[in-house]
């Protein structure tokens, strides 16, 4: 059998999902800089970066989860819970900022472990488990603050992480780059990442190949909990306050970014650079619409529509190919001449 023809390197690169997304991003930037006067400025660029750190962090850790064929709807709620826990530990329990932050990361890990235990341990569907914890985490945050309590007056040194810049770069950016690099290495450069991909492709097959499926799945959910806690810290530092409604709706934005980035919602296929591009596309969209003097709700509506579009575009070509194949077989069944021709 002859090997299949190798397409030219350039063509393959151009047709990659990430390349198309990059093109969309560039077009978006060109459009908004022509519409809004102050869109294309260094200030605005660092503003976009600053505002997309939390969603970016959540989208990054959601990528390995969706890669295994799972989903986590609870991360936005967990961000809210962690923000409230952090505020309580610092203000009411009197811990130092560093210790409170460390404990918050621990709480995030514990919350992730709850998801992990139910999903990997009891083999329950991730969808319903994280729908339950979505309600549980947000409810705990509301109960802790009685729905109204807000934590403010954090020390300057802590707010520095969220609000100041070093050499024109937002202070939280290095943290984000570090996490992005770690997740990229984990997913694309280690056997751990290959195992996740195998699990998403076929859990049973992965088990036969000797991969400890439950432990791998548990690990990604716990990791997601810890990083959601980290996002809660940067969120609190950026806004200077911690409230029970922090991070509402972030799970949708993160899922949209991941799916937009070319990760299959059915698992088995995905890329971290794609997720980063997806986050950038969404962040530029919502920022650009503000500069184009559109109401905030339009950005929300477009995000939902974009998610549907990205999903449909991932299945429509396949459906079209299947439809053509079926039509071909039907026609050849009626008229044998067609098969003789080909």
């Amino acid at each position: 059998m002859s090997p299949p023809p190798i397409p030219s390197r350039w063509k393959a690169l151009l047709l990659r999902h990430e390349s198309i997304l990059l093109l969309v991003l560039i077009l978006e930037c060109m459009y908004f800089s022509s519409v809004g006067r102050r869109f294309a400025s260094a200030d605005n660029a660092s503003d976009i970066l600053r505002h997309s750190v939390e969603i970016g962090l959540i989208a990054l850790v959601l990528t390995p989860i969706i890669l295994t064929g799972g989903i986590d709807l609870s991360l936005g709620s967990l961000l809210g819970l962690c923000a409230v826990v952090f505020g309580t530990l610092w203000r009411d329990a009197g811990l130092s900022i560093e210790l409170a932050a460390l404990c918050t990361l621990g709480v995030g890990g514990l919350a992730g472990a709850l998801n992990a235990g139910l999903i990997a341990g009891l083999k329950l569907p991730p969808l319903i488990v994280t729908l339950g914890t979505y309600s549980l985490f947000r409810g705990l945050a509301e109960a802790m603050t009685r729905g109204v309590d807000t934590f403010t007056h954090f020390p300057e040194s802590f707010l520095f992480i969220g609000q100041e810049s070093v050499l024109g770069i937002p202070a939280q950016a290095p943290l984000f780059v570090l996490v992005a690099l770690a997740v990229w290495l984990l997913v694309h450069r280690t056997t751990f990442g290959r195992a996740l991909q195998a699990i998403g492709f076929s859990p049973e097959g992965a088990r036969y190949a000797g991969i400890p499926v439950s432990r791998r799945i548990a690990a990604v959910y716990i990791m997601a909990g810890v990083v959601a806690a980290l996002a809660a810290l940067t969120y609190t530092a950026r806004l200077g306050q911690a409230k029970a409604d922090a991070g509402t709706g972030y799970e949708l934005l993160a899922i949209t970014a991941v799916v937009l980035g070319g990760t299959s919602i059915f698992g088995g296929k995905g890329s971290v650079p794609g997720t980063l591009l997806g986050v950038a596309t969404l962040a530029v969209l919502s920022n650009g619409l503000v500069h184009a003097r559109q109401p905030r709700e339009v950005a929300g509506m477009l995000t939902g529509a974009l998610l549907l579009l990205a999903l449909s575009s991932s299945v429509l070509p396949k459906m079209f190919a299947a439809w053509r194949a079926r039509r071909h077989t039907q026609r050849s069944a009626i008229d044998p001449a067609i098969t003789e021709d080909t």
Binding site: L124, A143, E297, G300, G304, A305, L311, S312
Partner: protein
């Protein structure tokens, strides 16, 4: 009784709760507050019935809260502009069916995962509603409240309608062929296809039915108050899913009864007022709801592992 162990255990839990309330806080049993409670929760029962069918068919719809909001605001606007109730209710129902049809077409036609599709429609509808109304309430004419009847007559009408719909679906889901198709598709879509059922159409049908029921529920909800909040229906999806899951419907599809859903609905609906009577702060409501969902699914998971 052993066959429907799950349904009975939920029903017994509910009875224990009622008994406990009779001893610990007898003030729970006042006819007027109980009647308003049932009226307030009746729309959620209607939505839970539709949700049960969708989940039995191995799908999920988390956009019902937003559908409820859109249908509620639209029917309120129509009522305020002078439409009679007899026209508003079918219109709201049709609008709900249309939105459900969009979800159904995306899920059944394109084979997309229902959770992500309905997550997208949930946000798109809610943001669209917020954009259109800017948080403004819709004021209704006095004559529209309780369908122009006295308060208690209106309350009983709403409860009776909800019970009628529940009974119709519960009784028909055992014998009607279309309802058995839902169970067949939910337990194994490929086997159902080989048996001559068209799974895509069945799935589409359950989404349309859920949308229509949500539209009806929104109209019934509108009749209860002098104004309609554009934020109404927020969190309704969780309420409906919780009632369905607690009532013993398997989230993996194909299993469960409407009677169980009814028991789950009663249990969940009475927990919040019970807590208030026991002087627990209402902020705990969401956490308790989430905890109950997790408890119900974990029990199922533990049972399956044995």
């Amino acid at each position: 009784m052993r066959k429907n162990l799950r349904e009975w255990s939920v029903a017994i839990t509910f009875c224990v709760l009622l008994l406990f309330m009779a001893i610990a806080a007898p003030s729970f049993y006042q006819p007027q507050p109980l009647l308003s409670l049932l009226t307030r929760e009746a729309p959620a029962l209607i939505v839970a019935c539709g949700m049960a069918l969708v989940i039995i068919g191995r799908q999920i719809d988390i956009s019902v809260g937003s559908q409820f909001g859109v249908c509620g605001v639209c029917s309120a606007l129509l009522t305020a502009s002078g439409w009679p109730v007899a026209l508003v209710i079918p219109t709201s129902l049709a609008l709900g069916a249309l939105i459900g049809g969009i979800n159904g077409a995306l899920v059944a036609g394109l084979g997309l995962p229902s959770i992500v599709v309905t997550l997208a429609t949930m946000v798109t509808l809610r943001e669209g509603l917020r954009w259109a109304r800017q948080g403004e309430f819709v004021n209704l004419p006095d004559a529209a409240q309780w369908f122009g009847m006295s308060q208690s007559a209106g309350q009983w009408t709403i409860i009776a309608m909800a019970l009628l719909i529940f009974l119709a679906i519960a009784l028909k889901s055992r014998h009607l062929a279309a309802a058995r198709y839902v169970y067949a598709v939910g337990s194994d879509a490929e086997a159902a296809r080989l048996a001559g059922i068209r799974p895509a159409w069945v799935t589409f049908g359950t989404f349309v039915l859920l949308g229509a029921l949500t539209g009806l529920a929104a109209a019934l909800n509108m009749a209860q108050s002098p104004q309609v909040d554009p934020k109404s229906g927020t969190g309704l999806e969780l309420k409906a899913i919780a009632a369905v899951v607690v009532g013993g419907v398997a989230i993996s599809g194909g299993r469960g009864t409407l009677w169980g859903v009814f028991a789950g609905f009663l249990l969940l609906a009475s927990i919040t007022p019970a807590l208030t009577h026991l002087r627990v702060e209402p902020y705990w409501e969401r956490a308790i709801q989430g905890g109950i969902i997790l408890l119900a699914v974990s029990l199922e998971g533990i049972k399956k592992r044995r």
